[in-house]
């Protein structure tokens, strides 16, 4: 069920675009995500970390579903509201690589469920 993937000629490790979120939120299993293709995935945040990349901090999130995991990279961010361990979210963007792992840079995202803090 590979849908919504928009072919692009040059899929470098660039930010995956800032276009508005599609109303049709057809997501793919993370296992089916392809390098250098656009993807729309949904999953749970397994871990997140902030690390410097160049001069600016970078928020890295590992998003997992039942089939696999992918890293979401938010450049120049230390914190994003609602993005915490256990959050269920949807992310859409161009799939590149970050630190030798499959990653989406600055994806468009939508929070589905944010765990309460007890």
């Amino acid at each position: 069920m590979k849908t919504n993937g928009v072919e692009t000629a040059n899929g470098f490790e660039t930010a995956g675009g800032t276009d508005t979120v599609d109303a049709a939120t057809q997501t793919v299993p993370i296992a089916d995500v392809r390098f250098r293709e656009r993807a729309n995935v949904c999953g749970r945040i397994r871990s997140l970390r902030v690390r410097p990349w160049g001069d600016s901090p970078t928020l890295e999130v590992v998003l997992v579903d039942e089939t696999g995991g992918i890293t979401l990279v938010f450049l120049a961010r230390r914190h994003l509201a609602g993005i915490r361990p256990g959050t269920i979210m949807r992310a859409e963007g161009m799939v590149g690589a970050h630190q030798r792992r499959l990653a989406m840079l600055n994806p468009v995202y939508e929070l589905h469920h944010v765990p309460a803090s007890h």
Partner: protein, 690 residues
């Protein structure tokens, strides 16, 4: 611990350096005699030092050797002390059945036991000569029959050592309560106290315990000889009166049997039974052969001399007491006190102040030597156990010499087992006696048979004589062993009997062989392809993960250490169970300014911290060429109970990670309550040092 423990020992701050105009000229200085380490010793160590004395150097082992007088006190108290109760044990069996005729049977039975003793002494002289380095039933049996029979011999001896401690302290307590009846209600506690004192003496060291215990042994021998001499004189001059029978408490006295039963099978049975009970007298002979290495050089010669002196002393005392008892005719009491020896003593020393004084002296001497008989076991049990452990048939801890060069673990094990036995039998000698001596004679039999085989195989000069001696010794001990087992299998009215040993020894031997299999399997696994494993190419990536629970001093020490490691990847990991706390931690972390040290928050919806850490580690290793080190900051507590205030997740994580091939765990300890050295004062320290 040879390094200084200051976190900062920069060369510039060295006290040996001279700073002049920005240039540092180092004047070489001799090293300090010991590494500078001004840490206070731990409280338990200081306590140990105060209780046991300063630690002994390993080189002092040679000087811990015993000369003949001390060795006699250390090794023979068990053997010699049996004379204090052997006669009583014989009478206790005979009197209820054959009545006054018992006093005619005591001497023949004693003589029979002395014949056994004579052959055992001869046999052990052979053993000591042939096995001068490490003798004893265990070694002899192992050499001649193999490991499994050696376990039987060893375990039999070990159980008997435990019994010796229990029996002799119980008998010593009886002697004490004979003199001081007020203590009678507390006799279990008194017996336990004796065990404690002897264990303590032994933990201080062989030599010292020898010194401590030599005086009572010689005192007992002296006062016994005085009593026997006086008794013999009085007996010959016809002045020795039979013991006054105080009413009540004696064991049943058969008036009608009067030897008539002797000529029936029942008579033989009862004689054998009395013989078996008296067999306790011969136990302890093996002590010297087990401890030849503890003697001063030439070990075997000194050991043989000591053995002879010991055998002669026992023979004289035992025979003398039995002979006197035929005149005094003491009747044992059901409760154990007053003892036969005390009744004889009362009769011999008579009334009057001097008589009373001598009587109390005798009682004190008896009590002391009985209690000290336990000491022989304390000298031998740990050594024998260390032989077992050396062959991987017992926990390896038993081979370790402790603070004062003695096998501390063995001493403690013996004390604990004996204490348990004392509590179970409520320190009653006649409940313990049926268990006693079975093990000793089993090991006698095995070791003498082993010696016989040794002579046949080696055929050294004079081997025929040796074969005769050891063969006779083996047959005699086997016969005695069978007699003991049969007659004391299950004494009427007593729950315990020789059957306990017959069950216990095979069970223990089975247990020890299982233990041995485990040790062998471990050793085999650990030894497989060591070289290939050590020389295998290493992974070229190294990831270090620091587990952080909260940002505190303990974590700070971990951060410091992690930063000194320079791995390919370094990050802190926090398992987020409480999201608010996790985000707090993240904010604090980002304020630290450790730009190359990211913090990762890991979701843990099922609160299985260990599992989450395992997942993170596995993910880090997924590329197949990354070695992972997990740093676990761990708080070390000043008091043992403080640790119960916190959970031990770190240990659980280490245990789980042990199953992964290329994951490693490093604990970063943080000592709590350590105000002496403060990590923050690193700046000012430099000035104080220069």
């Amino acid at each position: 611990m040879t390094q200084t423990i200051e976190p900062d020992h920069a060369p510039a701050a060295s006290p040996n350096g001279e700073r002049a105009a920005g240039r540092v000229t180092l004047v070489p200085q001799p090293l300090p005699p010991a590494p500078q380490m001004d840490l206070p010793e731990s409280r338990s160590y200081r306590m140990k030092n105060r209780l046991l004395g300063p630690p002994l150097h390993t080189q002092q082992l040679e000087h811990e050797r015993l000369g003949i007088p001390t060795a006699l006190a250390v090794f023979s108290s068990d053997c010699i002390s049996s004379s204090a109760y052997a006669t009583e044990q014989i009478l206790r069996v005979l009197i209820p059945v054959v009545g006054v005729f018992a006093f005619s049977l005591v001497l023949p039975i004693t003589s029979a036991l002395l014949v056994v003793l004579f052959f055992l002494i001869l046999s052990y002289r052979e053993t000591i000569k042939e096995y001068p380095t490490a003798g004893g039933a265990y070694m002899v049996t192992r050499d001649n029959f193999g490991l499994l029979p050696a376990q039987v011999a060893g375990v039999s001896l070990l159980t008997d050592y435990i019994l010796t401690v229990a029996v002799s302290t119980a008998a010593g307590t009886d002697a004490l309560t004979s003199a001081v009846p007020a203590l009678a209600p507390y006799h279990v506690l008194v017996a336990l106290g004796f065990v404690g004192i002897i264990a303590f003496g032994n933990l201080r060291g062989v030599k010292e315990s020898g010194k401590l215990f030599a005086a009572p042994t010689y005192f007992f021998i002296a006062i016994m000889l005085v009593m026997l001499g006086l008794g013999a004189y009085k007996g010959l001059t016809g002045n020795l009166q039979p013991a006054a029978l105080e009413p009540g408490g004696q064991i049943n006295f058969a008036h009608d049997a009067l030897g008539a039963g002797l000529f029936f099978g029942a008579g033989l049975w009862i004689v054998l039974k009395a013989f078996a009970s008296g067999g306790a007298a011969v136990t302890g002979v093996e002590a010297i052969s087990n401890g030849v290495t503890a003697f001063r050089k030439p070990e075997w010669l000194n050991a043989r001399r000591t053995l002879l002196i010991m055998g002669a002393t026992l023979g004289v005392l035992f025979f003398g007491l039995s002979a006197l008892s035929t005149k005094v005719r003491p009747v044992p009491y059901a409760e154990g006190t007053p003892t036969v020896i005390s009744q004889v003593g009362k009769a011999v020393f008579g009334g009057g102040p001097l008589g009373h004084l001598m009587f109390f002296g005798l009682q004190a001497g008896t009590m002391l030597i009985l209690v000290l008989a336990a000491n022989t076991s304390f000298a031998d049990f740990p050594r024998l156990a260390s032989f077992h452990a050396g062959d991987s048939f017992m926990p390896k801890q038993l081979t370790k010499r402790g603070h004062r060069l003695v096998f501390s673990n063995g001493i403690i094990a013996l004390a604990v087992s004996a204490a348990v036995l004392i509590v179970i039998t409520s320190a009653k000698v006649d409940h313990l006696i049926p268990l006693y001596a079975v093990g000793v004679f089993t090991s006698f039999t095995l070791s003498q048979a082993g010696m016989a085989r040794h002579h046949v195989r080696k055929k050294e000069p004079g081997w025929r004589r040796g074969l005769f001696i050891n063969g006779t010794g083996a047959i005699l001990s086997a016969v005695v062993d069978v007699i003991i087992i049969v007659t004391k299998f299950k004494p009427a009215g007593q729950p315990l009997g020789a059957w306990v040993i017959l069950v216990l020894v095979p069970v223990m031997v089975y247990g020890l062989t299982r233990l041995n299999k485990q040790y062998e399997a471990e050793a085999k696994e650990l030894a497989a392809d060591v070289r290939a494993a050590a020389e295998a190419p290493v992974f070229h990536r190294h990831t270090v993960l620091l587990l952080v629970d909260e940002l505190d001093r303990s974590a700070a020490k971990g951060i410091q250490y992690a930063r000194s490691l320079s791995p390919d990847e370094l990050r802190a990991v926090h398992v987020a169970i409480d999201l608010d706390r996790a985000e707090h931690l993240m904010n604090d972390w980002l304020r630290l300014g450790l730009t190359r040290f990211p913090l990762e928050l890991v979701d843990c919806p099922d609160r299985r911290v260990v599992h989450s850490v395992l997942e993170v580690v596995c993910e880090a290793m997924v590329d197949g060429h990354t070695e992972v080190t997990v740093l676990v900051p761990r708080r070390e507590y000043r008091r043992f109970w403080h640790r119960f205030l916190h959970d031990r997740t770190g240990e659980a994580i280490a245990k789980a990670l042990a199953r992964l091939q290329h994951a490693n765990v490093t604990f970063v300890p943080y000592q709590l309550g350590n105000d002496v050295e403060d990590a923050i004062t690193t700046g000012s320290k430099e000035e104080t040092l220069v």
